[in-house]
Symmetry: C2
Amino acid sequence: MVQDRVTSIEVARRAGVSQSAVSRVFTPGASASPKMAAKIRKVADALGYRPNVLARSLITGKSRIIGVVVAYLENQFYPDALEKLSMALQARGYHVLVFMAAQDAGNIDQVLDEIVDYQVDALVMASVAMSSTLVERCDAAGIPVLLFNRRQDDARFASVTSDNVAGGRKLAEFLIKGGHRKIAHIAGWEGASTQRDREQGFREGLAAGGMKLFSRAVGNFDFEQSKDAARELFNSFDPPDAVFVANDHMAFAVMETLRSELGLRIPQDVSVVGYDDVPIAAWPSFDLTTVRQPSDLMVEKTVVSLLDSIDNPLSEPRQVAIDGPLIIRGSARKPQ
Amino acid sequence: MVQDRVTSIEVARRAGVSQSAVSRVFTPGASASPKMAAKIRKVADALGYRPNVLARSLITGKSRIIGVVVAYLENQFYPDALEKLSMALQARGYHVLVFMAAQDAGNIDQVLDEIVDYQVDALVMASVAMSSTLVERCDAAGIPVLLFNRRQDDARFASVTSDNVAGGRKLAEFLIKGGHRKIAHIAGWEGASTQRDREQGFREGLAAGGMKLFSRAVGNFDFEQSKDAARELFNSFDPPDAVFVANDHMAFAVMETLRSELGLRIPQDVSVVGYDDVPIAAWPSFDLTTVRQPSDLMVEKTVVSLLDSIDNPLSEPRQVAIDGPLIIRGSARKPQ
DNA sequence: TGCATATTTGCATTCCTATGCAAAATTACC
DNA sequence: GGTAATTTTGCATAGGAATGCAAATATGCA
């Protein structure tokens, strides 16, 4: 059952050549004569030989593995991005080693140890914050780090986000033009740059229109907590007439609560806008006005940045923020 | 920036011991005196030494990597299971290497090559069919394979599913007791065992109640195609009064189409039931009656089976089918 | 054809850790 | 304290492939 692996030595023996010849045939960029390559390929195919990636990694120092740390896959934005990222990397000969880490970062340290153990070529942190000690560790290990959907002022790592400040501003402008007077905000986790940026842009937009936030609650990017936040804001004798929920995932929780629990109609009684434009946002039941995070583009930029930092480790990490369009649907009253 | 890795030899040198001593301290089960262990650990910590998993794999023949092949993450059941599986394996010192493969199996062969290259200890195929040639390949490579949420008659691999036949039967009984007379079915991909089993159970249940399927369409587990299927079945002068959609993901598409496009009320005009009980099914907008696939339990069984087949390669693969409860909510008329 | 240059090929070594074996150190027991 | 039994330690090697270097072939050009 458990056959011995076919090695390059075995192939070499049967083809009557040296092990190095076999190696060169399977190493992109190495030189081998067409004749030799043909002969070796034939034997290799017959035996079912394939180079052992692990052994190769040992000597090249490159594992062709990208570690991806992700906190939770409940918010559809992440599985979607993970799927795209995985496919894009796969197409370039890389693969994704997944590490789950709780949001609260308690076990991130341990997770990071494990990552370093696997000699990953680079690291993508999706919606996970990096403490400065973690930065040091990766830096010391020579592993380039890219923050996905998060940004950090530390110039030592690359990041790819959407332009959250601009997006927040667009939403504020849209709600103001829609004639809303009492505009509230349900925030995600306050430690997240996405949260801070979106809120900042939103507040700027309000200020530019001579308004300010009517009320505010925190949902921590969590479904259940967002329901509580909705109750908190709307169980009031003077509730808001519009609310910007910091991402779509929370917005669904808010919409469900407003409609089924508080008996409010959307958008007649209250307008709701979100952020991300996950597929569910387009479902008729939600029809959510939101800012699209262009995940295809974000993944594309991520891959380019990643490969660049792998190929030349001295290149400066870049912080990319991609503009995302406002997607106007029916969950918020529209400007006349 | 790119430091040299700290190796066991370096640690040994600084601690004034042999490399083997260092190795033994970091190899579970190897013997080292407490004194020596303490000394080495101290030096190792100071240098930030951690064993290189890849080098270790090379010699032990175990990579502690589990390959997971998954077709698409759009159906929430899969990211959810992936998250749980990843955490469970992580807790046992394994990690998940993700491979995306298109449903149509065109590129599965290539994907499999890549998997073998990485010397994974085992393989989980989530909702991906195995052709018999693929079976041979894995068998030859000595890689145990487990089908997750799929079953195959071939006794050569383990599988973990819910008891789809029983689940289908429960749904039929429930709909019959609810007084439905025209019961339809929207099927997933017909090549999937889950589809065949659910439908078989459902038909058996109908037959036991002296009924048979009123009409049928195919949604291929795809959101858009399921909308078409709904249109096909319900744009009729004699539409069904109940429909069993083969999974929740498709059921949402069907519900959206029935309500927003065809103006039908659920459950007053038509009852809808699904399968999986993904989190969204509990949202008030859908409130979907469905059969729960106990993903915690399924993951648990998967991990146990996986580790067992890794530890003793001669053990017989087991096919596990876990019973899932009917979750009665409001999307289907209830029995009086 | 002859010589200089470019390309292939093989040899030997390297990457880092685990492990069988034998030597050394420790422990147990009389 | 002395010998036997046990544990600890170091030595040397293996695992599979990549690569610098030198030798061997092939190519170019007059």
